[in-house]
């Protein structure tokens, strides 16, 4: 007999998900953290994520969560049950990364001001996620910390403001400035280190269907003396194809969207050691923009 599953639906930006789980707890946590988001009532979803026991009998003994769903990886390692919330978020990311085709997906964070978007991409550890969370507390609208969705026809960036996934030192930094009721449970020693989820500011959620024109692309690098450097177009193009999970899958549409983005959007590599330095560098680049 198959274990009964519970499920909830979530809508984040243009994408709708059904999260099905053998356990109620991760769903309760999600429901609480996503309570400000509009529910996709009476609507179908784009993807189903499944959280289930790795083996049927492991539902009760040392339960561990296997992440499955419409799109899945054969070698995805299970997580302990108290990291069920993280499993759900990873499951949603996986559906987007492998299944979303309505935008070019860039592994990047983005924030907006005056209808224009600042897009930040780079390897993990570059600080792009923390930067977007910090800037969102300093007058920018948060659009997403994981994926920037580049429109295939208009060239605009569509928000995907899921919960902000704070890691390690970023947790303390954000706890100093954001109120406690916006935080999810702290998860210690996950495969990605310590993780704590943060609900984005209210305007990020209210305006999650509002796109913005990309005006600046940064490749931030944390821990080096503040500096802005130019980058060649060929390098930018290659790094963006590496930062995209669906560039190849989109074929010609992806090529057209990405070449247009590289042609239209000014780019800088940015080194920084603190949020204040980063903000100063960004402001200097931002104010002369058309």
């Amino acid at each position: 007999m198959m274990a009964k599953m519970h499920d909830i639906s979530l809508k984040i930006g243009p994408a709708a998900f059904r999260i099905a789980s053998t356990w109620q707890r991760p769903l309760d946590q999600l429901t609480d953290l996503y309570k400000a988001y509009p529910a996709p009532t009476g609507e179908t979803v784009d993807f189903t994520v499944r959280l289930e026991p790795e083996k049927p009998w492991r539902r009760f003994i040392r339960p561990s969560v296997h992440i499955g769903g419409d799109f899945w990886l054969p070698d995805a390692a299970p997580l302990p049950l108290d990291q069920g919330l993280l499993a759900a978020e990873m499951g949603m990311n996986l559906q987007m990364a492998l299944g979303w085709r309505r935008h070019l997906l860039l592994h990047a964070s983005s924030v907006e001001k005056d209808g224009k978007a600042l897009v930040m991409t780079g390897l993990s550890g570059s600080g792009k996620s923390t930067l977007s969370a910090m800037l969102a507390e300093r007058g920018w609208r948060f659009m997403g910390d994981e994926f920037a969705l580049l429109s295939l026809d208009s060239g605009e960036i569509m928000p995907f403001p899921r919960l902000i996934s704070l890691k390690n030192r970023a947790i303390d930094a954000m706890q100093d400035i954001a109120s406690e009721n916006r935080f999810g449970p702290e998860m210690k020693a996950t495969p990605k280190g310590d993780i704590r989820h943060l609900v984005p500011p209210p305007d990020a959620i209210e305006r999650m269907n509002e796109p913005a024109t990309p005006a600046l692309l940064l490749f931030p690098r944390f821990g080096h003396a503040p500096e802005l450097r130019p980058m060649g177009q060929a390098e930018i193009f290659v790094r963006l194809t590496q930062a995209s999970t669906n560039y190849v899958a989109l074929g010609e549409a992806g090529f057209r969207a990405l070449t247009r983005f590289v042609d239209d959007v000014p780019v800088k590599a940015m080194d920084y050691q603190s949020i204040d330095q980063a903000e100063e560098l960004i402001d200097a680049l931002w104010s002369p923009l058309p």
Partner: protein, 94 residues
């Protein structure tokens, strides 16, 4: 017997210039190629005709200001072999 070559059909290719390289999206494969000179120029002068390396070298010399002391034919041959492996150029049986 001289080996002749033909480039991929024009309709199968989408070109895009970057500052230092040329992007080429190849529709039948869905692959994006990043080409350095003179590969884009070679494909351009071939223009769907069936040509030998000598003929391609002549067309290049006519279109571009090439240095006189370089071995154009061998450079063309080497690039043609690379482009053949990528499926952007095909050797044509005599």
């Amino acid at each position: 017997m001289t080996q002749k070559y033909r480039a991929a059909a024009k309709d199968d290719l989408i070109w895009h210039d970057l500052d230092s390289m040329t992007l080429l999206y190849h529709r039948p494969s869905g692959i994006t190629h990043m080409l350095a000179d003179p590969a884009p120029a070679i494909l351009e002068v071939m223009n769907e005709a069936v040509l030998s390396t000598v003929e391609i070298a002549e067309r290049l010399s006519a279109r571009f200001d090439l240095e006189s002391n370089i071995d154009t034919e061998n450079i063309v041959l080497a690039r043609l072999e690379e482009l053949s492996r990528l499926g952007l150029v095909a050797p044509v049986p005599a």
